[in-house]
Symmetry: C2
Subunit: 342 residues, 2 copies
DNA sequence: GGCCGACGTGTAATCGTTTCCACGTCGTGC
DNA sequence: GCACGACGTGGAAACGATTACACGTCGGCC
């Protein structure tokens, strides 16, 4: 592979001049510039990003550590992150933690070793020493979706409280009184927050949230299945199951189906996170939709602000309820909320 | 951030010795080793991967350029690729081409500039000059899922021919005679191959595949919707629509639903690529399942073989038909093929 | 006509590693 | 007792870029 030296030799100038042409430094004569450009073209030269990074101490790369790539919500997040980053001249290295703290740490370490310019992360747990060290060391960082309390890092997330309230009102109006939730891990903010929002919304209607109706999941389909089976085995099973993410909702559907029961007649179902497939499931699933793309873009902008020396602020966008048929009594068709893709 | 010099100074040895300890070079005294290790620990030193890469000319990084991250098939592929790569000591940079050749080229260029050790790619088109150049320059490369004919690069893919034959036999047995396909872009191998396999399977049953029954899609949901609407507008609409990927099947469902028609009563549907959601759609969708995880792992192994100087061979694994209810007449329940997650 | 600033260019240091080579100090074998 | 090999170590040169600094040349202005 041709190096800057080859270009310099071929153009009859010094490497410094080549570098200046490449970096659009003003003080280069038109003559030198054309000769260099011609040599670059002829040799098919491309600057070595590794060498450049070593010298300039910037990689123009963002690290993104997400909890689970198989979760469509995070996939969409990753996509919008990459898009916005590309628009701003950065590339993205994605690490998939699979909801496992040790894999998360592996990725964080790896990204730090590669000297990424900044880190976007949706923490799987309460924060490992490694991550806290990175924050302390001044690594530009932004939390997205989930965050770690007490750590001074901007957070970009959706606030689902209002939507959860709308959901509970909807369920209450349909006559449901025994509502259960499949929660995410308590170590994640989204795990505990959604339970709290649910509990508060229930309280507003004078409904309790008994412990038996709080199932502990881990945001994966299998846990949704397991928890739902537990609910169904209860002497008095809930009338509604609210899954704190879309994969656990999938697991819940599996469990209900395995028993030969029907949604919503035998048990109603709702989910946090809306995905295109919810339109076509049997029945279509009522869900709380996050502005996922906007979250990803906002997170990148915040991180790049931080990297480039500006100050980055936290962002909270609101989620909204999308009513379908999985909780009973089909509402009037709404052509907008029923579009399956965006 | 502490550098190797700091460690050397702190341990009272030269940088060469530190480097030797870190790289497990044998000729280091036990005494020096412990002093270095202690210094590393004390300073929280981590080698700078950028500098190391510059010197050794290897990044221990693989590039993966996929056609569309939002497609669950590619997501799963990406996940298995990353997992296997991690197991072999490599990390992965994913580029999402969104089925657009110019974005694909952007990612390829970017990855090449970063001096990745090898490239895993599922080409969106017939091969840009850039990619052909990279092949000619000897960049270790492996095609996965799709490939470019006439280019000497190992291919790891699923052969769906038998499964398509099984599908057509299944459809024929159900009494369907007018079968249509939503094809992928002709520039992709999976785009044209699936049509050919379908045509051949139809011919074996003495069935034609008229041009009007070949809809041109682009592997995205929207095109599935558009093509399906076209089919439904035909004077004699098909009895079955076979979508060449899962997203176009989603679009087809959207279109059928928008007309108030029902699957499979009014029109049957089948898809290439199986995904967990197909179990829970209304109705569950008959699909051809690829061994996605195995494909990803095999692709990584082939690429790493090539990188580390061994020879890499092409791999073709077989796909299989998973019958559900979207083509009519429910088969007996099969607990294995109906599990929604793996 | 001389001085000074602007301009274009090249030399060389630098980023953090790895690794070749040379060197000193042993222990061993004759 | 001497030669020699093995071993542990350090110095210094790379890798491919960027950039501070110095230098020569030219034009304009007094």
């Amino acid at each position: 592979m041709a190096s800057i030296k080859d270009v310099a030799a071929s153009a009859g100038v010094s490497v410094a001049t080549v570098s200046r042409v490449l970096n659009e430094h003003p003080s280069v004569s038109a003559d030198a510039r054309t000769r260099v450009l011609a040599a670059v073209e002829a040799l098919g030269y491309r600057p070595n990003a590794v060498a450049r990074s070593l010298r300039t101490d910037q990689t123009h790369t963002l690290g993104l550590v997400i909890s689970d790539v198989l979760n469509p919500y995070f996939t969409e997040l990753a996509r919008s992150v990459e898009e916005e980053a590309r628009a701003l001249g950065y590339s993205v290295i994605i690490g998939n933690a699979d909801e496992r703290p040790e894999i998360q740490d592996h990725h964080v370490r790896n990204l730090l070793d590669r000297r990424i310019d900044g880190l976007l992360i949706s923490p799987t747990d309460g924060g490992s020493p490694l991550m806290l060290d990175a924050v302390r060391a001044g690594t530009p960082m932004v939390f997205v979706d989930r965050w770690i309390p007490g750590v001074d890092v901007p957070v970009v997330r959706a606030d689902g409280r209002d939507a959860v309230r709308d959901l509970v009102a909807h369920l209450h109006a349909l006559g449901h009184r025994r509502l259960a939730i499949i929660a995410g891990p308590a170590a994640t903010t989204t795990g505990s927050e959604r339970v709290e929002a649910f509990r508060a919304a229930l309280a507003a209607h004078g409904l309790p949230l008994p412990d038996a109706y709080i199932g502990q999941g881990d945001f994966q389909a299998e846990s949704g299945r397991r928890v739902t089976e537990g609910f169904l085995d209860l002497p008095e099973p809930p009338e509604v199951v609210f899954a704190a993410d879309n994969l656990m909702a999938l697991g819940a559907l599996d469990a209900v189906r395995a028993r030969g029961l029907r949604v919503p007649d035998d048990i109603a179902l709702a989910a946090f996170d809306d995905i295109p497939w919810f339109v076509h499931t049997d029945p279509p699933v009522t869900a709380i939709a996050q502005p996922t793309g906007e979250l990803g873009r906002a997170a990148v902008r915040a991180l790049v602000d931080r990297i480039e020396g500006r100050t980055a602020a936290s962002v909270a966008l609101s989620a909204r309820l999308v009513v379908r048929r999985s909780c009973g009594e089909p509402p009037a068709e709404n052509p907008v909320t029923n579009r399956s893709t965006s």
